[in-house]
């Protein structure tokens, strides 16, 4: 195993984060998630499992969903990165957040940013082209509080407003 002097193995990168160019000096092994959280104070991207399974760290890189915990910041050099902080106020995100609240789609809220980012992608042009559905998005990430039913219903309401087939929680 190679012993690397961390201080000398820094690389200069530029990430375009939420529309702003951020110049960072990172170690190659620094994940995109850690760079966002530690260097840019964008802590909305959460670390659940840190090995790509739970999806709490989902961000959008060059328009595509990515699990930030298994992408190294150096791989995002020169790329456009969108985090949950950067989508506040977008009409569809607002609609998702209101629907999440209405449908008990969160308890602790730890998984919520990951679901919001993936749902936002799913509602977009690229997501629609890939036939992303509320069910597919709900099945992609983990919620340890078990709010899947609410998450699916919230997304259904935003995917198809007025045709949500709304059922009271608990009845299926």
């Amino acid at each position: 195993m190679k012993q690397t002097d961390e201080l000398t193995s820094r690389m200069s990168i530029v990430l375009r984060v939420n529309g702003r160019d951020e110049h960072l000096e990172v170690s190659p092994r620094e994940t995109l998630a850690d760079a966002l959280r530690e260097r840019l104070d964008l802590t909305g991207t959460h670390l659940g499992c840190e090995h790509g399974v739970c999806g709490a760290c989902t961000v959008i890189v060059d328009g595509l969903p990515a699990r930030a915990c298994i992408m190294y910041a150096v791989q995002a050099d020169g790329r456009d990165v969108r985090t949950v902080e950067g989508v506040q106020g977008e009409p569809q995100v607002q609609a998702l957040q209101e629907a999440f609240s209405r449908n008990h789609a969160l308890q602790c809220g730890f998984c919520t940013p990951g679901f919001l980012m993936l749902a936002r992608w799913g509602l977009g042009e690229e997501g629609a082209a890939r036939c992303a559905t509320p069910e597919a998005v709900a099945a992609s990430n983990l919620c340890r509080c078990g709010c899947y039913q609410g998450i699916r219903q919230a997304m259904r309401e935003v995917w198809e407003p007025g045709d949500s087939g709304a059922q009271p929680a608990g009845e299926r």
């Binding site: 193995s9 170690s27 190659p28 595509l64 699990r67 190294y72 992608w121 998005v137 099945a139």
Partner: protein
């Protein structure tokens, strides 16, 4: 969970990548989509001294249909294969399989070549590459070479890739009128089983069936005995009628134990049925 330290090289071209591999004398790893390697690095299961990033190499993401074959560039992302409409006719199983790989984020980043090089024996592309009689093109410091998929996939997570070699293309063989892929869920089961089935239909009968099965026991393999059983049957008759016979044919080299053999047989039946229900893929110029 953070990786152990490594140096990072962004490869500018294939020569640069394989030279970097050679320089590291076996202590480097290539990273493309990172959907398998990222978790391994974070868990420190993999501790390369050097990470060679090939994800920005141009000209390695493509689907090129040729007579009797489909060439797939190693950097083609799983998501690019998800829709049957985007694929040339005769390889419908690719879309079925792609749609089931992980989650949208994994499909957006992970690559076809990465999956073949990782050689998980139940991986979609490994099982289908075997079903479609693929060849693999790799490039090393000594140049390019081509291997049959059976020569390339040597065992579970084991390939014939040299330490200075990089996979650049996978070429699938003959297309099929019908094809599909199914896998048991990886969660909760001690053993995962995957099946790939491809076949033509002539005069209402199954012709040129190709059946591959993947289990953790070893590399995915064709099952000639099952293919012989299916050939010549009425295409509209589900192989469910002969599921017991199929299970009996899956010996211990393919299916470790009778329970796995039964699961594999059931999976083959369902894959065949799904392929048939999904409809015929006519080849260009073929009469409908």
């Amino acid at each position: 969970m953070k990786p152990a330290p490594f140096d990072y090289i962004l490869a500018g071209d294939v020569t640069h990548a394989v030279t970097a591999l050679d320089d590291a004398a076996g202590n480097a790893k290539l990273i493309a989509g990172g959907q398998s390697l990222g978790p391994m690095l974070n868990l420190r299961v993999a501790r390369p001294d050097v990470l060679v990033d090939i994800s920005r190499l141009s000209g390695l993401s493509y689907l090129r249909s040729e007579t009797g074959s489909l060439r797939i560039g190693g950097l083609t992302r799983h998501a690019e294969l998800e829709r049957r409409a985007d694929l040339p006719p005769g390889y419908a199983a690719l879309a079925t399989a792609a749609a089931g790989i992980g989650t949208p984020a994994i499909r957006a980043q992970g690559t076809f070549g990465g999956s073949i090089a990782y050689a998980n024996p139940v991986a979609e592309w490994c099982v289908l590459a075997v079903a479609f009689g693929a060849t693999v093109t790799v490039v090393g410091t000594a140049g390019a070479r081509r291997l049959g998929i059976d020569e390339f996939l040597l065992g579970a997570f084991t390939t014939a890739l040299g330490s200075d070699e990089m996979l650049v293309e996978v070429t699938l063989g003959e297309p099929a009128h019908y094809s599909s892929f199914l896998k048991t869920s990886t969660s909760g089961l001690a053993t995962t089983v995957a099946a790939g089935v491809a076949f033509d239909v002539e005069d209402g009968l199954v012709a040129r069936p190709r059946v591959s099965v993947g289990t953790p026991a070893g590399p995915p393999r064709r099952v000639p005995d099952v293919e012989r059983l299916l050939a010549g049957r009425a295409a509209g008759a589900s192989p469910r009628e002969v599921r017991g016979e199929i299970a009996a044919l899956l010996d211990s080299s393919v299916a470790p134990g009778p329970r796995v053999a039964r699961v594999a047989a059931e999976l083959m039946v369902r894959t065949f049925d799904h392929a048939f229900r999904a409809g015929k893929a006519f080849r260009p110029g073929e009469a409908r």
